[in-house]
Each structure stands twice: as C-alpha cells, then as structure tokens.
Symmetry: C2
Subunit: 247 residues, 2 copies
Amino acid sequence: MCSKQNIYDNETFFNGYKALRADSVNYNILLEQPIFRKLLPDLIDRYVLDVGCGMGDSCIFYEKIGAKKVIGIDISNKMISEARRRTNSEMIKYYNTDMCDIEKLETRFDVITSSLAVHYIQDFDSLLKSVYHSLNSGGYFIFSQEHPLTTAPLQGVEYTYNENGDVIHYNLSDYMYSGIRKVEWFVDDVIVYHRPISEIINLLIQNNFIIEQIEESTPSNNALAQCPDMSKEFHKPSFLFVKAMKK
Amino acid sequence: MCSKQNIYDNETFFNGYKALRADSVNYNILLEQPIFRKLLPDLIDRYVLDVGCGMGDSCIFYEKIGAKKVIGIDISNKMISEARRRTNSEMIKYYNTDMCDIEKLETRFDVITSSLAVHYIQDFDSLLKSVYHSLNSGGYFIFSQEHPLTTAPLQGVEYTYNENGDVIHYNLSDYMYSGIRKVEWFVDDVIVYHRPISEIINLLIQNNFIIEQIEESTPSNNALAQCPDMSKEFHKPSFLFVKAMKK
C-alpha cells in the first residue's frame, strides 16, 4: 500500500525545512525549480493538481501562468496551513490529503505535477494507477524526485575528496537494490524508497504512460556562481525529472 | 558524423576479444545475452538486422528462432569473416558495413538490434535517424550498450575496496559530462562516447521512438554462482538495455 509517512509534521523537521526554503540559495530554487518548470505544457485554462504541494509555491505559480483551477494536496497539516496562509487566490484549493488518495478528489485534471515527493512513496505503482485514473486522456504527469543515484547507497550520500577538499568521486553503492532507505535530513531516519531508473520508467510504461522527456539535474552558470558546491551535480545529479503522457 | 572507429580490426584487440568470447564464463553470455534476448519480440517470419554483429552469435540465434531473413553488419572485416565462417544458413547475410550506413542496405526491417555497439558511436542522433528510416512502422529497435554509469568516469572504471577485498563502492564521477572517453580494453585508448541516460532516452523520443522497456544489468543466481565477482553489478550495472518502437 501507499506509505503514510508524514515527516513534515515533525516540529524539528518542519522548522528546518522552512528555514531551508526561506534561504534563496537552495537546491530547490536554483536547481530543481528551473528544470521542472521547463517541462510544463501550456497551463492556460487547465485543471492542475500538485501532489505533495508543500508550502504552495508550485500552485501559486500555476495560477499565475493561467491555470483555471489548481488543487494542492499534502499529507502534512503544517504544510497545508502554511500554503493557505501564503495564497491569495480563490482559484487555488489546498487539501490535507495523502498522495495515494487522489481519486477521492473526484476531479479530472489536465496536468498532475509532483515536486520531490514520490521518493517517499513505497508503492509507486499504486500512485501511478491513481494518477492515471485522475488524468484526462492526453494529460501529463510531470514529477521530480531524488535521483536514484542519490537514493541508492544504503549508507547515505557520501563523496570522496582529495587533499584540497575537491570532490574526486561520488561513492555509489547498492544502486540495483530497490527498496527502503533511511536517511538523515534535519532528523534521524527519514524514510525514502530507492528505485533504479529502469524500475521507475517501466512502471510508468506498464501503467500506460508514454515517456515524453527525462531530465537529470545540472546547474546553470547562475546557480554555480551563487553556489559553487553545485559543481558536484556533474558527478552525480541530485534530481530526476520525468514528463509522461496518459495514453 | 558517425564515428568510423574500427578497433576490432586491431590484431591485439581482436585476438583478446575472441579469447574472451570463447570462454563461457563471460559477461556477454552470463549477463548481457539473457537480458537482451528477453526483450526480443516474436521473430517468426520477420526481417531482422543486427548492427555491430561481431562474430554472428545474435544473427545465428535469430534465424534459429524463426526469423525469415537476417542481416548482420559490422565495421570490422575480421569480425565479418569470422561470422561467415561460423554460419551455415542461406538466410543470414553479413556485410562489412559501418553502422551509420544502414540505409545503404535498401531493405526495411521489422526488428533492428544492436548488442554493445552504440557506445562506439559519436553521433547517436544520426544512427537513430538511419534506424528509423530502415524500420517498418511499428518495428522495434532493441539495443544494449555499456551503462552510462560505466562510461561516465573520465579516469575509467574503478571501485573502492575494504581490507578484505570486498567492494564498498563504485567511484562515480563525471556522469553529466557527455562526450568522449578513452578506455583501456586489450589495447590502450579504445574510444567510447558517454551519454547520460536522459540524453539517450530523449534522443530516442525526439526521433519518434516510443520507449517500451528499459533494463539495467543484474546477474541471475546461476551467473553469480559461476562468477561471484558479478555481485558488483548490484552496486553499478555494466549494461543498459532499451526496447523502443518506431511510431
């Protein structure tokens, strides 16, 4: 079944995450968001759902570029409250709903998006079935997630450095072992699910999605200037992006 | 343009490669071939082309499982001579032709395959255009190649071992730097071309192929029993497999 992990309602985690997102030099704003937004189709007059909407940044953006109706769902009540507080539009609705319960919204969407959330889901197959059910024919599912190279190591993300402190390589292990990973991020033992890229792609295809585009994160020159440490992305990308169309 | 590298006609390389393939405990037979063959559609009465056919193993197999006509091409004259020597069927033809010159065959195929060859090609986009042109509508292009995790490091494939000699991780670097790599394999400076997985998938899609299945190599229990060193595949797969259909 779908995972019901709700780490974002943990006080320590939520405050850490909020502070991270408030800083404009972060991986979301400099790296993830620009690549993600380039994958979006024209949203004018479209019905859009954002799954794992967090503090509502994507929903607010979708409404701004012309979406007719935007729904954001998140399992974290704290996130939904924060999203509502930040939003000034009647066109955007937020619900404190698990991403596995999309079908309960009883709405069909033209575009369903999800930014950095699906790696929290144990049963990706179930999520895809729900997304498929709730998309109009020809509609898009566009998502980003932690790159499988990032989630692979059972020991967590580690690099090897030379004596000058430069990265010489990323320590890749366990890539083909699909399954649970415990990672530290603000708190101990945040649970994510590692899937090799072939597993992700094949599950989409088996669920009648057509793969339209795949991206792996690389920083722009602007991002590198603000955050030189992002050159590590050239050794091992942090994020994977998929644009898929419902057949 | 397409690369005309013909390392297989180098005497040292050819003899080393032939000896490797003659040994039944090798990565081709134990790892690559079983995964590749599971991707094949029904070949009965089909026209099949194998690109970079080497010593003809695949062509001979395709004829055995019912293909009506099989053509194998290879840039290496030594390989083509060896393939002809091993083949006892009028249904199979071999040509000493570069893989970028598929269109010159003036035949349309139902299935085009290529086993561990496309990483030698500089201009993958050109190859895909040729393959597309020479496939019947709804036909399949099925290929394996060195996995991008294998071709990524500018310094070549290296692992880090613990004091017992067990692999603790693969040294991954330069994954997002698409381009030329010089590797040692029997001789110095065999040239391969590294492309991140997103680049490979997107080029296929841009050339009007539909991605049907992706596989990354993992050894069977039988393969592991014969070659325990293959457990390294779980850290970093050696091969990537793609099954794509012409729209």
